[in-house]
Subunit: 318 residues, 2 copies
């Protein structure tokens, strides 16, 4: 007999094979084969997204695909890594319409071109529950050059890329709690801009991406490095729509999630190198405070210069 | 303020950090750093498992963890790769009991020791639906030596490891449709035995693991290599409980899923090398047919020597 290819394989062939790149063995194998370029190490990171938690079931599927890829590319960017490719598992209800897959793949395809990555492998399954997605992204970095959460020293500056708080304000917009005439805030919430391309190897002494809230994530760098941090709220870069929202939203900006900007520790002697790298990548960088010796904690100085109480440090999924 | 660590981080610290290995940065970073050993390439594979599809919600959680890891190790084994480590995403309902995590991690810890791998990174999230798990396993293989689905030549023997059909019969046992006095079939269904350690580099001309049914998976090797296959049912190795189930279950054995044995193409001149490798790894190997020139299809000869009609080639999740 000729064994017929069942629907699962047709799904992969129709939608996912066009995403496949070198090393994927055309998704016709059970595994991908990959070697890092000479003198480079691989950097690997994985994130999951579930409908109803990380996106809404009726969100445009192309944005879901792009967000899934971009949150992982953001983690690679925070290590100073150049993206290579990704593996992905996709669990969908049996009644998921064909148009959902078409949109999801179109979004991934657009971002593959934008970021120079391709699909290396993965799995598709059905689920009796909401769409559940998982993506493992792979990049490369000079051997021994990866930027870690640990490594900040007293006197290093605290730096961020881009603007802070737009994602959290965008969520408030999506929930009807805030106006957004330009659509900027909602767009920032729906589609992260991973800071791929900012060369922080040999520049940042520590770093991570801001995904769970600036203050909480700064706390992670403090704990990893056994060091304190002083953050000046007046220095934190806000977008024009975030400024327009008014001072009552400042705490949301400092503690909300979904920024996907880079948070870096940079020694004063390397500030010029950071600014040069930022110009080369056309990415804004801003100094917002300093690391200080002492117990691992974050002190936030408000716009009036006095310590600012914050009800919450950030976002947890539990 | 000192930012408090929310529950998500406590969950990771309490349960998952003890699984972390070299390169994981103690799971306190957003990514793992990894370099293959000299002269080796990395092999990567990803599989998802969802409660209600791949396991039952009340299955013992230690078996769920071990199965998740083992189905991926089986894919690595089929490439001839030596396992290194894995990244994992775990999406669980908010009311998932602490005991589930304890059991799940205990199963993973036992298999980490058994297979010499460790956790490199991942993500934990909540879900409003069933438990959804995804695992990306990473191994290494001699550069250019990975075994692929494509590569079989006319005259190569078709070989399998272990016994075929126990997984599918174990599923029938779980559904109350078949007796299983020894518990062997149910155990084989619940806990795959990935054939890690069988050195097939330079021995097999093609290969994959049998997860969707022997006939269907053999069809994959035929399509990838543009070649035909003749399989002799009387040569297919069955366990004693599978024999005892009777001839009416033979078609189930040939087309059912969940075997996680290796299916290999081996040129006659390398049969002795395969048998030597099998003895060294204490893994049984059996020749069950041959590849033939012609269109990509699988002909199954029944026990009476005549072509055997099969209603289905294997298992699809859609």
């Amino acid at each position: 007999m000729t064994s017929e290819l069942p629907a699962e394989f047709a799904l992969i062939a129709r939608h996912f094979r066009p995403l496949a790149g070198p090393g994927s063995l055309d998704l016709q194998d059970d595994a991908a084969v990959l070697a890092p370029p000479a003198g480079r190490e691989l950097v690997l990171t994985a994130d999951a997204m579930v409908a109803g938690v990380h996106f809404l079931p009726d969100d445009p599927p192309d944005l879901v695909g792009r967000k899934l890829l971009r949150v992982n590319l953001s983690d690679l960017a925070a290590k100073g890594a150049t993206p290579l490719g990704y593996l992905m598992t996709v669990s969908t209800p049996r009644d998921t319409p064909e148009t959902w897959f078409v949109g999801f793949v179109a979004g991934l395809a657009a971002d593959q071109r934008a970021y120079g990555v391709s699909l290396l492998g993965g799995d598709t399954t059905s689920t009796p529950g909401p769409i559940a997605l998982s993506l493992t992204a792979i990049g490369h970095v000079g051997s021994g050059q990866a930027v870690h959460r640990a490594g900040a020293s007293a006197g290093d500056g605290i730096w961020v890329t881009g603007t802070i708080g737009d994602g959290a304000l965008g969520l408030a917009v999506a929930r009807g709690r805030l106006a957004d005439a330009s659509g900027h805030l909602l767009s920032r919430y729906r589609l992260p801009q991973p800071r791929v391309g900012l060369r922080i190897e040999g520049v940042a002494s520590a770093g991570m991406d801001v995904s769970d809230g600036l203050v909480q994530d700064l706390g992670h760098i403090c704990r990893a490095g056994d060091i304190g941090a002083e953050l000046e709220a007046r220095l934190v870069p806000l977008s024009a729509p975030a400024h327009a929202a008014g001072p009552e939203w400042l705490a949301t900006c400092l503690t909300g999630g979904d920024d996907y900007e880079l948070l870096l520790a940079v020694p004063p002697a390397r500030e010029a190198a950071l600014q040069s790298a930022a110009r080369a990548a056309d990415i804004a960088v801003t100094r917002i405070g300093r690391f200080v010796s002492g117990i691992p904690r974050v002190i936030v100085y408000g716009v009036d210069g006095s310590p600012m109480p914050l009800a919450t440090g950030g976002w947890s999924h539990f």
